[in-house]
C-alpha cells in the first residue's frame, strides 16, 4: 500500500500545472495528512468520544419523577446515591468478578488451544481450525444464549450428560452466567493468542532447547513471555465484553443481576442515573487499560 502512494507522488512531480492541487498538497504535507485523517478523527471525536462525553454529562442531570423526562439541572445526586447504597457496590464488584472469571477461564482454554493450533497441527490444517473457532460467531448471540438456557434447565442436556457422574447442571445463576459468557467470548481470546504463537520464530524455540531447556521450561520462559501481549489483547476483549453484558444475565442469570442490567432497568426510568451507573464500567476499563499499559504489553501489539 505504502509503496503505491509513493509511486503516484513521483508521477505527479514532472507535470505540476494540471495537478495543482496535488502539488500543493505535496508541498504542505500537514494538510495532506490532516485531510487523510479528518474522516476517522471526526468519527472518533463525534461518534465515539462525543457519545462518552454526552453520557458523562447526562450523569449530572436529574429526571422528573413522574414523566421520567430528563431535567437538565446540574446535580451530584446520582453519584451520591451510587455511593450511599451498598447494592451498587455489590453489583459493581459482582460484575468485575464475573468479568475476571470469564477472562481467566477463557485464557486457560485459549492458551493450550492456540498453542495446539499454531505449533502442533500441520500448517495446512490450521485454516480449518481457525474456521472452526470462528464458526460460533456466525450464529446470532440470542440464539446461542437461549440454546444455553435450554441446555442448563432442569432435566436439560447438561443434567442428562452429567447425571452418570453424580453431577447436575448448575442451574440459572452466577455459574451459568460465567459459563455462557466464556462460551460467547472465547473466540476473541483464542484468535489473538493464536496469532501470538504463530508469530513466534521457530529459532527461539530451537535455541531454548539447544541451551538445554525442557519443553515445560521453554514454554514458561520463552513462549509465554512472547505471547503475553496477545493474551492481554484477548483479555481486553473478554473483560470488556463481559463487563458490559446484560442479556446473558437476563436469560440465564436466574435472580442475579450484573451492572448492565442495572443500567438497562434505569435507562427507561431514570436516564441520568443509568448514565451515572454506566460510568462505573468505563472507570473500571480505564483502570484496567492503565494497569495493562504499565506492564508494557500494549507496546508490542
Amino acid at each position: 500500500m505504502a509503496g503505491t502512494v509513493i509511486e503516484e507522488r513521483e508521477v505527479v512531480r514532472p507535470a505540476p500545472s494540471p495537478h495543482r492541487t496535488s502539488g500543493f498538497l505535496h508541498r504542505h504535507r500537514w494538510l495532506q495528512l490532516s485531510g487523510l485523517l479528518s474522516a476517522p478523527m471526526l468519527w472518533l471525536l463525534v461518534a465515539y468520544l462525543g457519545a462518552l462525553a454526552m453520557m458523562f454529562i447526562t450523569a449530572f442531570w436529574t429526571t422528573d419523577p413522574f414523566t421520567n423526562d430528563v431535567v437538565r439541572v446540574w446535580s451530584l445526586e446520582n453519584f451520591k446515591q451510587l455511593v450511599s447504597d451498598r447494592a451498587y457496590l455489590n453489583v459493581a464488584v459482582r460484575s468485575v468478578v464475573v468479568a475476571s472469571l470469564v477472562t481467566l477461564v477463557c485464557a486457560m482454554i485459549a492458551v493450550p488451544m492456540a498453542f495446539f493450533m499454531a505449533r502442533v497441527v500441520r500448517p495446512r490444517w490450521r485454516g480449518a481450525f481457525v474456521v472452526a473457532v470462528l464458526t460460533p460467531l456466525w450464529a446470532s448471540y440470542l440464539v446461542k444464549v437461549y440454546a444455553w438456557r435450554v441446555m442448563l434447565q432442569t432435566d436439560g442436556v447438561l443434567d442428562s450428560v452429567l447425571r452418570p457422574f453424580g453431577l447436575s447442571s448448575p442451574g440459572f445463576g452466577l455459574a451459568a452466567i460465567v459459563i455462557v459468557l466464556t462460551y460467547l467470548w472465547l473466540p476473541y481470546m483464542i484468535l489473538p493468542v493464536y496469532a501470538g504463537f504463530e508469530r513466534l520464530p521457530d529459532s527461539y524455540v530451537d535455541a531454548s532447547s539447544d541451551l538445554g531447556a525442557r519443553t515445560v521450561r521453554t514454554f514458561r520462559s520463552v513462549m509465554l513471555p512472547m505471547v503475553f501481549p496477545s493474551l492481554v489483547a484477548g483479555s481486553i476483549f473478554t473483560f470488556s465484553l463481559s463487563l458490559g453484558d446484560y442479556i446473558t444475565a437476563q436469560i440465564v442469570g436466574g435472580k442475579v443481576q450484573l451492572i448492565g442490567n442495572v443500567v438497562q432497568t434505569n435507562i427507561v426510568l431514570n436516564l441520568p442515573f443509568a448514565a451515572a451507573v454506566a460510568t462505573i464500567p468505563v472507570a473500571v476499563m480505564v483502570i484496567y487499560l492503565a494497569v495493562v499499559s504499565r506492564t508494557g504489553a500494549l507496546d508490542n501489539l
Binding site: 478523527m41 472518533l44 471525536l45 468520544l49 462525543g50 462525553a53 454526552m54 458523562f56 454529562i57 429526571t63 422528573d64 419523577p65 413522574f66 414523566t67 421520567n68 423526562d69 431535567v71 437538565r72 439541572v73 446515591q81 447504597d85 451498598r86 447494592a87 451498587y88 455489590n90 453489583v91 459482582r94 438456557r149 435450554v150 434447565q153 432442569t154 432435566d155 436439560g156 442451574g171 440459572f172 437476563q250 436469560i251 442469570g253 436466574g254 435472580k255 443481576q257 442490567n261 442495572v262 432497568t265 434505569n266 435507562i267 427507561v268 426510568l269 431514570n270 442515573f273 507496546d299
Partner: protein, 402 residues
C-alpha cells in the same frame, strides 16, 4: 507514545468542551413538567379522519395484536389490513416502562398503555388527546371504563379502553399441591418450592407485596397498594427481600416464563392468563387462579402518539380493536374482560364475559389496576408523603442487588 497520549488527551478535552457547550444552551429551553398536579401540555386531537397512510406501527402487550403468525386460528389483524389497507407492524413491550420508552422514541403511532404508563405518557405530552367522535365503536364501550382517571384528564379523553384483567397466580399441577388459593405461597419463607418460585421483574411488583400486606397486616393500614408511605413501603420491601431467598428467577420476558414453566424451572408464581394459555397449549400442566387477597391488574387504553406518522391508520386501528369482533377475540385470547358491551355476544365461549366479570364492578373493586405511584398519596391521605415511582425503581434495583 508520549506525544500521541498528549494528543489523545487534548482531543478528549476538546470533545468535552464542545459537548458541554452544546448542552449548556439547552438548559433555559428545556421543558420541565409539573410534578404537582397533572397539567398535560395543550395538544390538539385529530379533527377529521383522512385516508389511511398504508401502515401503522403499534406498541402492544404480547397477545394484543395477533396476525395468525403465532397461531393460525388467532388472527384479528389480517382482516383489518385488507379492509383499510393499513399494514400493521407491532413491537411487543414487556413492561410499562419499556412501552413508555418506545413511545418516546417517536417511531410508533399507537400504544396499548396500562394505567402505570398512560398518565406518564399524558403528562409528558407523548400521547395526544383522542377525538372519540372519529371512533364509531366507542359508544358501545362499558360506561364503567369510560372517563376514568387513567384515560381521561380534566375531561379530555386520551384513548379508548381496551379491556381489563388481573395478574394471576400460576402453578404446575404436577409439582404443587394442594392447589393454592392465596398469595401466601409465594411469600412463604420456608416454602417447599424454594428456588422454583418466580416473580415479575419490575418495580411495579412492589404493589403485589403491598396488596398481600393489605390483607395480612391490617396494622400497616395500607388502603391502596400504589399509595405507600415510608413505613408501608419498607414493610413491602422487607417482604420482597425475604421472598428473594425463595425465588428461582424473575421474569419480564413472557417467552422466558413460558419456557421456565414448561421445563419445571419455575413451578409457582405470578403470571398473565395469556401465558397460561400458551403454556397449556404447549403441553405444560399449569393452572391459574385469582387468589383470595385479590390481585394487581390492568385496565389498558389504546392511545395515539403525539408524533404519530400514521394518525389515520392509528384511529382506524383504535376503532377496529374495540369493535365487537376484534375485542371479543383479543379478550378471549389474552384472558381478560372486553371493553365493548357487544363483544360479549361474539366470544367463542358464551360465558366469557361472565367468567371474566366484564361488567362486574364489584369484582374489579378487588383488582388494583396498575397505576403510577406519585408523592401525593393516591388513597387521598394528605398528612403523609407517599413514595413516588422513582423511589420504587431505586428500591427495586437495590433489592435485586442486595
Amino acid at each position: 507514545m508520549g506525544a500521541s497520549r498528549r494528543a489523545t488527551l487534548a482531543t478528549m478535552a476538546g470533545a468535552l468542551v464542545l459537548v458541554a457547550a452544546g448542552c449548556g444552551g439547552d438548559d433555559s429551553g428545556g421543558t420541565t413538567t409539573a410534578t404537582g398536579g397533572l397539567r398535560p401540555p395543550k395538544l390538539e386531537a385529530l379533527k377529521t379522519l383522512g385516508p389511511g397512510e398504508g401502515q401503522v406501527n403499534l406498541v402492544a402487550w404480547a397477545g394484543y395484536v395477533e396476525d395468525g403468525s403465532n397461531d393460525p386460528k388467532v388472527d384479528w389483524v389480517t382482516g383489518f389490513e385488507k379492509a383499510t389497507g393499513c399494514q400493521v407492524n407491532v413491537k411487543i413491550g414487556n413492561s410499562s416502562d419499556e412501552m413508555v420508552q418506545l413511545i418516546k422514541s417517536g417511531q410508533y403511532d399507537a400504544v396499548s398503555a396500562s394505567g402505570d404508563a398512560s398518565l406518564r405518557l399524558i403528562a409528558a405530552g407523548d400521547v395526544a388527546p383522542v377525538n372519540t367522535a372519529l371512533i364509531p365503536n366507542y359508544k358501545d364501550v362499558f360506561d364503567g371504563l369510560k372517563n376514568q382517571p387513567w384515560n381521561t384528564v380534566n375531561g379530555v379523553n386520551y384513548g379508548v379502553p381496551h379491556g381489563r384483567g388481573a395478574n394471576l397466580l400460576m402453578w404446575r399441577t404436577d409439582k404443587v399441591s394442594p392447589d393454592p388459593d392465596s398469595w401466601s405461597v409465594v411469600f412463604d419463607p420456608s416454602s417447599p418450592y424454594k428456588g422454583k418460585i418466580t416473580a415479575y421483574d419490575s418495580p411495579i411488583y412492589i404493589a403485589d407485596a403491598a396488596l398481600y400486606l393489605m390483607a395480612t397486616r391490617p396494622d400497616l393500614g395500607i388502603k391502596n397498594p400504589y399509595a405507600l408511605d415510608d413505613k408501608q413501603f419498607q414493610a413491602s420491601i422487607d417482604l420482597l427481600k425475604q421472598q428473594k431467598n425463595t425465588i428461582g428467577e424473575y421474569w419480564v420476558d413472557y417467552l422466558k416464563e413460558i419456557q421456565a414453566f414448561k421445563s419445571g424451572d419455575s413451578v409457582l408464581g405470578t403470571t398473565w392468563q395469556v401465558i397460561a394459555n400458551v403454556a397449556q397449549g404447549e403441553g405444560a400442566p399449569v393452572k391459574v387462579t385469582l387468589p383470595k387477597e385479590g390481585a394487581t391488574g390492568w385496565s389498558d387504553t389504546w392511545m395515539v402518539a403525539t408524533k404519530a406518522k400514521h394518525p389515520n391508520c392509528a384511529y382506524m386501528w383504535l376503532n377496529h380493536i374495540i369493535s365487537p369482533e376484534a375485542n371479543a377475540a383479543v379478550a378471549e385470547y389474552f384472558g381478560e374482560a372486553p371493553s365493548n358491551k357487544l363483544a360479549c355476544a361474539k366470544t367463542a365461549d358464551p360465558n366469557h364475559c361472565a367468567i371474566f366479570h366484564a361488567d362486574d364492578e364489584a369484582y374489579f373493586s378487588k383488582v388494583w389496576y396498575w397505576n403510577t405511584p406519585i408523592q401525593q398519596c393516591l388513597d387521598g391521605r394528605t398528612d403523609v408523603r407517599c413514595k413516588n415511582y422513582a423511589e420504587w425503581t431505586q428500591a427495586w434495583t437495590s433489592l435485586r442487588n442486595s
